[in-house]
């Protein structure tokens, strides 16, 4: 028994050190599940009666699944949305530009995304969350992950991240970063929105990542301007007692 244990441990170490060498480039596929009932229930500035009513009627299965893909190498990474074929078959929405680009070497971020119905290019130095590290461990997509936590006071949102110990690269979906390993799962407000890595394809050759193009019409703003714009919209939504997340990201 003991021998098997030692063997296993050795095996794990060897395979991991192999993985650690090659997993500085690859693609991570994410499912992004939106649970509208939970989002509504956790939107505390709405009327309590209405929130409870909507959660009672819609239950816990009111989910919408989006898909995302994170392409990374040692110095660059980019996150994009890809269409969910299951929904696209009967109704296809207009494709929006959505690129979350990070140049780690030059400490530069570039997001091309729609904010309040208009496309912006958010260009700045990289901004990451100030995470708190916790003690839980679990497996996501075949990787042992540790747990980190952050509380967003503006959105009244708890974020729990699971980052892979054997992928020592500070990346994550939707620009979430700043942890010692790749973020393979992100849980916001107890399942209101969950990013889960479904498939990880490592690449031996560093994948080529090109910086997304900023169109002429697209306005370039700083990260602080972007945050200010979002915060202003959240404040307006609070005054109108309507969910903020119809207009801007959750």
């Amino acid at each position: 028994m003991k021998q098997i244990t030692i063997f296993l441990v050795l095996f794990v170490i060897i395979s991991l050190s192999n993985l650690a060498n090659c997993q500085t480039s690859g693609k991570i596929f994410y499912n992004i599940s939106h649970n509208w009932s939970k989002k509504m229930l956790n939107c505390k500035y709405l009327s309590k009666t209405d929130r409870e009513n909507s959660s009672y009627v819609w239950g816990s299965n009111n989910e919408y699944i989006e898909k995302g893909i994170l392409t990374f190498n040692e110095n660059f990474n980019i996150f994009e949305n890809i269409p969910n074929e299951e929904y696209e078959r009967y109704y296809s929405s207009r494709k929006e530009n959505y690129y979350i680009y990070r140049d780690v070497e030059k400490n530069k971020m570039l997001n091309i995304q729609k904010v309040l119905g208009k496309e912006y290019a958010i260009e700045d130095s990289i901004h990451c969350i100030n995470w708190k590290i916790r003690n839980d461990m679990k497996e996501v997509a075949g990787h042992i992950c540790m747990n980190a936590y952050y509380y967003d006071t503006i959105r009244d949102k708890e974020i729990v991240a699971w980052f892979a110990l054997d992928m020592p690269i500070a990346i994550g979906p939707d620009g979430y970063c700043g942890l010692p390993g790749a973020i393979l799962e992100l849980d916001m407000n107890n399942g209101s929105q969950i990013y889960t890595a479904t498939n990880i394809i490592p690449s031996d050759e560093p994948l080529k990542i090109t910086i997304p193009e900023i169109k002429k019409k697209t306005k370039v703003i700083s990260y602080n301007d972007f945050v200010e714009m979002e915060n202003k919209s959240i404040l307006e939504s609070k005054k109108l007692t309507r969910p903020y997340f119809w207009q801007i990201s959750y």
């Binding site: 296993l8 709405l46 009327s47 009627v57 009967y90 929405s93 708190k132 839980d136």
Partner: protein, 931 residues
């Protein structure tokens, strides 16, 4: 210069200070077999809140270091997939510049934890120091199992025959529940008696003895302790509310209401009860109460087995319990029911029963002017109505997901209703000179019993190939209606002396039975990522039998009124459509071929009529939705609608209740056919909150079924109208609607505007002469909402509409009528728990040709007070229609008549309501505002 030097000096001083306040930390990692541990994650956390300050990985020799770190108290945390997490507090002294942690030994994570718990059970595991925590909810155990059964399944925990527990080679002598000792020292009292379903987490850790707490020296041979953390029962619960109100209205009439609901739910079940009763014209259940009663089954009752155009799985939705009524008269209402839902990943089940009863009594006055090609006459009606309707409805639905590819839905609805109507009507006919022609008095008592059953089954299979789908449905519909009617009709013709009287008294019994069977098949084949082919087949057959017998006051059969008919319908449709979906462009185009066969036989005493017509045609279909820009949508739709004639048009029931108005059948009728097109354009701007949408609809009728009217003056009776359904060619209608909503001052003042217009041309034959009624309608409204802080809000609005009707056979009778209205209201949170609300509305109805002009002012005020520490009680005093002017008014301009109708309804009353809410009442002015 001096200043510049001083500045430099300060900078240098600060940097020196900084250097002094910075430290570095180094260390080396080895495992228990003395091998280096490379690639371990080493994190430096703020010791207060575990915030991540910095991190690194150990190199090939297990060495890690942090340089130039701010001097502060830290928590050093080392993680590696193969080793137990290591944690150490670092508290640098004032002088220390480099903290060398030396050799740190990491112990491997036990095999069972890594391989079995994390990888196989996929259970999150919590490891902190020597505590290991299992998530009990992720281990499957049969219902009714004890904690001991659960422990036997946890990797790394062993339970012997006597119930003794060991883990990692050590005995567990103590078991706590939620951190507390439970019935003495024997752990088996807990593990063999407590239900495993109650346990959320199992934690195993080393007991800290009192000695250790004092000395801080750890004893590695000590006992293990187990703690069972119980589930919080937040997923179970109940809520409900009840209210009773009492007051008085005009003529000292008592006004009352009572209603209540109670809901109980667990993680997978919802059970709800509801009841109501009142005499304030609230005859149905409102949306919010209804949705709370139905719970999760609210969104599963939409099944339709009639596959066809408009996208696979399109579902229709109807809601409501209770009988709406048209707002005239006074009603006493009662109802109640029970609903049960069960749902998990595979099964969704719902059963519900509801009973409603409404008794309405009303008095209606109407004034109608009818014009023929050469003459005009007036009719003045007064009607007294007393209707009672009881309805029982039971519905159940079962949905089962065999797996992710096979789904079955079964549902059944049963309803039984009884209706008792009695009404007394007098119709006074006058010539254009306001001379009385005749007076027609009718007394009618009618009792109905209707029983209906509907059963539906839908099976759907999704193939391995994404998007390939097959579905089949079957439907059985049965209805059985019985009616008994007592008719007492007296016509008095005034122009003769003595007055000519015609009496007509008859008792009529009718039985109507219908069986319908439907089946549909759908197959969807994806051709490429953008193109999908959808094919369908629909089958429907129905058999309807109707028997009508009449008896005179001497109980003799009235042969002329006997009618028995049997009608067989067979319908087949096969169709296909091609769907294109890509980047905001969605188009569906297709066509179907349908065949309809009607075989009918009708018997009267002496004659037998057969009607038999097969009807085949092709129908095209088109629908498109374009997202033109990110904020601009364009929807287009076209449909060729073909609808079979209603069976009662072919073999009409002899309409006996009125001797002066008769309907006859037309077995030669063709189906109705029309081309319907629609367009919708909408724009919104999320930043400025500006929304606008424009809708247009057009319908071109190829073949329309209308009631042609023949009205003749019959001597010694009066004007007698015979109405016969017939096909007419032509006719069209257009309508357009614009709506916009935008803020003038964001979050404070918003405005909404709407405009609508419509034009219709409808041909119909009046006394065998074609009359084209051209009707134009234009209207608009303007409204504002003001939110003056969190506690006060106002709204105000005004609307106007005008209708212009032209008649081709009698242009003198062209009609214009107008309607104006205005309203204003406020909601004010006077004190923390006191709310004052009021609204006022004004309406004017006007028709110069009928010399009709009526103003109605309506004012309602209410105050409510929430009471109690948990806000569970509420008292409300309401004064409704303070000016006592409420009444029901309708204006009609039809084919060859114009009319207005008035009826008294519930007007001024005062009501005191006391309500109790288990969850507590809301104490804010917040309104529902989801979008």
């Amino acid at each position: 210069m001096i200043r510049k030097n001083l500045f430099l000096l300060i900078i240098i001083f600060i940097s020196v200070l900084n250097v002094n306040s910075q430290i570095s930390i180094i260390g080396q990692l080895k495992d228990t077999t003395n091998e280096f541990v490379p690639a371990a994650t080493v994190m430096l956390l703020n010791s207060k809140d575990s915030a991540l300050v910095n991190y690194t990985t150990s190199d090939s020799k297990g060495i890690f270091s942090f340089k130039n770190i701010k001097r502060a108290k830290y928590l050093l945390k080392i993680s590696h997939v193969a080793f137990m997490p290591y944690q150490k507090t670092i508290n640098p002294t004032e002088e220390e510049k480099e903290i060398n942690l030396g050799l740190i030994k990491l112990s491997p994570i036990a095999n069972f934890l890594m391989e079995v718990v994390i990888r196989e059970a996929k259970a999150p595991i919590f490891i902190k120091g020597d505590t290991v925590e299992y998530d009990a909810t992720t281990f499957k155990i049969p219902p009714g199992s004890t904690v001991e059964d659960l422990l036997k399944r946890l990797p790394g925990i062993e339970v012997d025959a006597n119930g003794g527990i060991t883990t990692m080679g050590k005995d567990v002598k103590t078991v706590y529940v939620d951190g507390k000792a439970f019935f003495g020292n024997d752990p088996t009292t807990v593990t063999q008696n407590l239900d495993a379903a109650a346990v959320k987490k199992v934690q195993v850790y080393n007991e800290t003895t009192e000695q250790e707490k004092i000395t801080g020296i750890k004893d590695n041979n000590k006992e293990k302790v187990m703690n069972l953390e119980l589930k919080d029962e937040y997923k179970k619960g109940y809520f409900g509310k009840a209210s009773v109100g009492y007051g008085w209205g005009e003529n000292a009439a008592n006004r009352w209401l009572a209603k209540g609901n109670f809901n109980y739910f667990t993680e997978k079940q919802q059970l709800s009860f509801m009841g109501y009763g009142n005499n304030i014209n609230q005859s149905n259940v409102n949306w919010s109460d209804y949705s709370e009663f139905k719970g999760q089954s609210m969104r599963t009752g939409w099944d339709s087995g009639d596959f066809g155009f408009g996208g696979y799985g399109r579902r229709y939705f109807s809601y409501g319990y209770g009988y709406g009524g048209d707002g005239s008269g006074f009603s006493n209402n009662a109802g109640g029911g029970v609903n049960y839902n069960f749902y998990d990943k595979k099964i969704k089940f719902n059963a519900s029963y509801f009973y409603t009863r409404t008794n309405t009594f009303s008095d209606t006055y109407s004034n109608r002017q009818t014009f023929l090609s050469d003459s005009i006459f007036w009719r003045i009606d007064t009607t007294g109505n007393d209707n009672t309707r009881n309805n029982h409805s039971f519905s159940t639905r079962f949905e089962y997901d065999f797996d992710s590819t096979n789904n079955l839905v079964l549902r059944a609805d049963v309803s039984y209703s009884t209706t008792d109507r009695s009404n007394i009507t007098t119709q006074l006919f006058q010539t254009s000179l306001f001379d009385d022609i005749n007076l027609n008095s009718m007394k009618n008592d009618n009792g109905n019993n209707d029983f209906g059953v509907n059963a539906l089954g839908i099976y759907t299979h999704k193939f391995k190939k994404k998007g390939r789908t097959f579905a089949i449905s079957g439907n059985y519909d049965f209805s059985n209606g019985k009616s008994a009617e007592n008719i007492d009709n007296l016509n008095e013709f005034y122009n003769l002396s003595p007055i000519e009287q015609i009496k007509f008294i008859v008792k009529n019994d009718e039985i109507d039975i219908d069986h319908t069977i439907k089946a549909s098949i759908l197959y969807v084949e994806p051709l490429s990522k953008q193109f999908t082919l959808q094919t369908f087949y629909n089958f429907r057959t129905s058999l309807r039998t109707n028997n009508n017998e009449s008896r005179d006051p001497n109980n003799n059969s009235v042969d002329s009124l006997y009618l028995n008919y049997k009608n067989n319908l067979l319908y087949n449709r096969v169709g296909a459509s091609l769907n294109f979906a890509y980047n905001g462009i969605n188009i569906q185009a297709g066509g179907a071929f349908q065949n309809l066969q009607l075989n009918g036989i009708s018997r009267q005493i002496a004659t037998e009529n057969k009607s038999n017509f097969p009807y085949s045609n092709g129908v095209p279909y088109f629908e498109a939705d374009f997202e033109l820009t990110d904020n601009l949508d364009l929807d287009l739709g076209y449909e060729y609608a073909v609808e079979e004639p209603n069976i009662s048009y072919l073999f009409p029931m002899p309409n006996l209740s009125n001797n002066l108005y008769k309907t006859i059948g037309n077995p030669e009728l063709d189906p109705e056919r029309s081309h319907d097109a629609s367009v919708r354009l909408s724009y919104w701007n999320q930043a400025s909150m500006f929304n606008i949408s424009l809708n247009g609809n057009a319908s071109f009728s190829e073949n329309n079924i209308v009631y042609n009217q023949t009205t003749n003056f019959v001597d010694s009776i009066g004007y007698v109208t015979i109405s016969k359904p017939a096909n007419v060619k032509g006719g069209n209608s257009f309508s357009t609607y614009l709506w916009s909503n935008f803020p003038i001052v964001k979050t404070i003042l918003t405005m909404n505007v709407s405009l609508n217009g419509s034009i219709s041309n409808s041909p119909v034959f009046i006394n065998e002469m074609e009359n084209n009624t051209n009707s134009k309608n234009a209207g608009g409204s303007l409204g504002i909402n003001i939110t003056a802080g969190e506690k006060l809000s106002f709204n105000a609005g005004a609307s106007a509409s005008a209708t212009f009707t032209k008649y081709s056979i009698n242009t003198d009778k062209n009609q214009n009528y107008m309607r104006y209205s205005a309203n204003a209201g406020f909601k004010w949170q006077v004190f923390k728990k006191t709310f004052l609300e009021g609204n006022y509305s004004f309406s004017n109805y006007n028709n110069s040709k009928l010399d009709f002009n009526q103003n109605i002012n309506n004012l309602n005020v209410s105050i409510r007070q929430v009471i109690g520490a948990k806000n569970q009680f509420e008292i409300r005093i309401a004064a409704m229609d303070l000016l006592n002017q409420n009444q029901y008014i309708r204006q009609i301009a039809s084919v060859n008549y114009i009319e207005y109708r008035q009826s008294p309804t519930l007007a001024r009353y005062y009501l005191l309501t006391v309500a109790y809410n288990l969850r507590g009442f809301e104490i804010s002015n917040k309104s529902r505002n989801y979008f």
